[in-house]
Subunit: 364 residues, 4 copies
């Protein structure tokens, strides 16, 4: 159920409707748009009895929702969600293309800084790196843990890039929330609903990767889990799905970008590294991802891929990443996007360590 | 790395080798077989320096393992793992076919007891029911939680059936471990490695469902995660994989049963309810699962499927389950299996609430 | 559009309705059932103007068909289609399980006779063997052609088994129609509509294999193509579909058997050889196929699989086939089926070389 | 087996080696490159006895081929195959992007001319349209047949666009060869080996669509079938593969473009219309296809999609196609491609109706 407020409804009227909804035992999610505010109701097991809501001051209409997702839906919020990071010019979902780059795993301080220096110079506004690695084998390198997070925080301080890193359970999520700027939920955890809810209770944006065999509806419902707990800053990420095709590790499904953009206001980025699993296909598919209209890229870069502790096969050399950026820079304008020039973004001292401000943030 | 002990090696010699391995900073997993004991070494990042191990008393040979899985492998343990439940004649992996039945979700005491009474009478030795439900939508019924577990514990007390129920995170796992006899890990959590490790530190058998797009290797590696923490009682479960085919909710891949049985000593059961998603296909596929050689079935039964809070479409009516059991009872002998007669199993008071004893249990 | 005749409608009335339909520019397909005859109308581009049909003598009602398939549908013909082979006790779709066995390819007279002798003795009523092989590579062995057909015809004369062999184009189909008893259309040609129509104009039953990525609807529509040309003797065959799973060459989708049986009156057999691609999985999956309710099996057997010119990996040794038959013989009765005893079937001289009579045959 | 000739080998020497190979009972395929000529040997069942070949004048070395494909391979021919069409500036595989556009099916003269006029003006050098339609249902519109071909031939005469149309069997292929410039083999016939061989004996280029579940190897082997008969002008076409994803009709696998380009010298184009099945996704995916490096696009356009006899859902309106071309025109230069300006290409009277000249054409 959605409550659509009148264009001239006051903040007090919105607040009153929200209080009414909560007094009925439901949760209210006020989502202000350019023209009007819509209030999503969740927490109802069955039908919501609209009764008194309809007649409250400032209410325009009540809409029954048939689709299983509500908060992620463009029906609820027509404008794109743009996630901004105060203290930087970086954003995700706006005109600027978000470039997230870095090694698969943080292996040590030297490796991380070497790669960071290069991807920052090439124009990345976000640094990615795994401190907690979900590995198929229990005997593979599982990441440096908090030590890795500390290294990434130093990288933010030095280079001004915002940090994106994966949380794999409640324990790591607590630390990731503390150190990083964006909490990544991996493909294998896309339906770890407990973790999604926990991430929904943090104040940091969540980058949610599509599961290996997730339909668009399941993908959006996973985002809905995060949002239903009050965190509206979700970034979706296509990273390839599993099919019979064996020329790439996964099959990158670029059609999901326009599909998501029709249904949802949330930004969506593409991961051509996991999406192909092969270094020589990362750059062509990065070009394609920008051309199809993605809001950004997340790319693995390593200065010594052959010695990487994980995913070396799909990591670009820094020179290849420079080249990728130069190609992407030419395609972006065709789809109305900008890409930061080389070495252009701020690396000034930051006041707030990892503040985030979203166009989707609720009333307060 | 495997250390194969001589046939006449003493328990002291085995213990000494284990201690040596642990003193080297690794973990030792002693797995006694009919002829000899093998000791798996895990926790090594790279090569294990065999040095002194080879010359210890009782050691026959050291085998380098090339396959990514070790503890699940039939190379390590040739005999089938049979999981027994003291105080009952139920077991999983032995000659007797394990029949696990019950509703998708525990909805209330009356529903649970009604179904339990019927499936028990039909011959099920295990009662399944969800207290924690991983649902695609955050707005769907999520299970009764601990209240559901309590109801199931009462069912064990009254009917003597052992309880199988799903844990979805560390919190629920703690409670499931306390109340239930078998901890189920669902398909969506098959690569929730944090949960797998946590389950590996419990003393209850783990029923691990195959992920929707998991290869056999990934499936076995997930079991390896549980075993690598010391819990050797893992039951694998085929529940259908995701394909293009749309006449069933998932595509039940029965060939995985002989495939797993070649590679691993672990038992494997089949879930034709999720595997097809359609009531009218559950019985034919149950027959097929037994015929292909599965160690058991896990079947959804509900006395009022049309009113079920989840998965009503695929739940059998109790009469249909009777019929299924009667058909399965005729096929089982062809593959050298027995099925308990109607109402035959023990419902005598149990000494140990949920003890478990496995042929795979480590030295103590 | 279906015209359902009254139970007591005369043959003359049926014929008159058919003539009326054809005079309207459509094709009429009279399909007699136990209770009544239904007449399918095909060849219409859009709506059929029912007008005068409704009021003709003997007509009970006109049913608009919303499903894309008509002639294959159980709506049109409630009773199972049973395909019989005069001069033998073999049939497909009736109580007796149809066992089709033989080598992948006919390599030479000696090989074919050696295998034929063994599968015949084990109880197969049908001999399969490829004379025209659709191979992925143009450089692989493509079959003996007409020479292979001649060898199979000799095998029919000597052993009394009916011959099943593949046609890959119009040219080979003409010869296959002449020499064989059942025309096989392979998975790769399931949507070779031109070949399907051509097969629909023959008088021999057609064994139609499911395409590697065919939905049930596409599968049935392919059969509809054959039937729409007047050949109602179609046997469907599940042979595995293509998925991400890599432990078998294809993923055998046994749930398609009950799915097809609900929608269609046509018989369906299972090919566990192509369905798994691995010798050690053929027998378990054969048991499962019979248990799920298939109307028969089609199995590859070779006396020297290691020297086979194609598909050696999945061919059973004759002793393994004996064993398969003995297991299948025990499961069949559970699903109400019979399997011919060892060496029991007729090998008496046959009057008609390859006559066929079907319970689905149209009025004449 | 490949025979690599010396850089300075004469045409006579090449011819002598070819004659020698043919005298040994094999087929020789001379493929001249920029530096040297390589000669592929096919038709061998097993090993080729190199014996005398190695010592013939002009021969540099003999290479045993382990990959199953030979003639399609970049090992055999390093330079890209560029297919040119004398009398026009159109080509496929060169610097210029090949734009193929038109309705799914030719429905009548007026429809075809209306669409042709628009796509020609927008810059398409090739006109596509189906005269023979492979339809899932035998009751759907199957195309106008030769009448459709005649209409397309008129369109070539009037607009100067080259004609691309599908052949579905030997009969239609004969007519398509006569009337059209490029013979399309559809996805459903990708492994109709009989049709592939027949197409290999024509003198017209073949546009070969990837099968719905074809691996790259199977795709290339299908092209090998055509080439092994002597027709070296094959254009590959990605048109989406079948997966579990349901937001598009097929999943467009753009990674196959760089994958094919690594392995083969053949050009590859992308069909975003069938690849997505949804009008609103055709333009974004067209941009992506050009960005990933495809040699061209094949797009469905209809002036009244709602009235189209087939595939209306995925056909662009002419205005949308104009827009697509304008976007593609901006992306092409980034990947070193050119796109003809609006209305720029020749529509001068053509001498040869449908001549074709390929950089891959054999010696003679």
């Amino acid at each position: 159920m959605l409550v659509v407020m009148q264009a001239h409804a006051t903040e007090d009227q919105v607040r009153a409707v929200c209080q009414k909804i909560e007094s009925m035992g439901y949760r209210a999610h006020a989502l202000p748009g350019a023209q009007r505010t819509a209030i999503g109701i969740t927490g109802n097991k069955g039908e919501v009895e609209p009764g008194t809501l309809e007649e409250m001051p400032g209410v325009q209409e009540l809409i029954r929702v048939s689709k299983p997702y509500k908060l992620v839906s463009r029906d609820l919020k027509e404008e794109n969600t743009i996630i901004t990071f105060p203290g930087t010019d970086a954003s995700i979902g706006g005109r600027g293309l978000a470039i997230i780059a870095g090694p698969c795993a943080i292996e040590n301080r030297e490796q991380a800084f070497t790669v960071a220096e290069r991807v920052c110079r090439a124009g990345a506004q976000f640094f990615r790196g795994g401190a907690y690695k979900p590995r198929t084998s229990p005997y593979s390198f599982q990441g440096l843990g908090e030590e890795g997070l500390r290294i990434m925080a130093e990288i933010r301080d030095k280079f001004g890039m915002r940090i994106v890193t994966e949380a794999i359970d409640n324990e790591s999520l607590e630390l990731v929330e503390e150190y990083a700027d964006v909490i990544q939920i991996g493909a294998r955890n896309m339906q770890n609903f407990s973790l999604l809810k926990r991430a929904g209770r943090t104040r940091k944006p969540v980058l949610l990767k599509r599961g290996m065999s997730a339909t668009v509806e399941e993908f959006l419902m996973a985002a809905e889990y995060v949002m239903s707990e009050g965190n509206y800053n979700v970034i979706l990420c296509e990273r390839g799905v599993r099919t019979f095709a064996d020329h790439t590790r996964n099959t990158l499904d670029l059609s999901v970008v326009p599909a998501v953009q029709r249904l949802s206001h949330l930004p969506i980025v593409v991961d051509p590294s996991h999406g192909t699993g092969k270094r020589n296909k990362v750059t062509p598919l990065s070009r394609a991802a920008v051309a199809v209209g993605a809001d950004g890229l997340i790319v693995e870069v390593h200065h010594q891929p052959d010695k990487a502790l994980s995913d070396g096969m799909q990591s670009l050399y820094p020179d290849q990443f420079d080249d990728l950026m130069s190609q992407v820079r030419q395609i972006a304008p065709v789809v109305g996007r900008t890409v930061p020039a080389i070495g252009s973004h701020t690396s000034a001292p930051l006041q707030a360590r990892s503040g985030v401000q979203s166009s989707a943030s609720p009333l307060t």
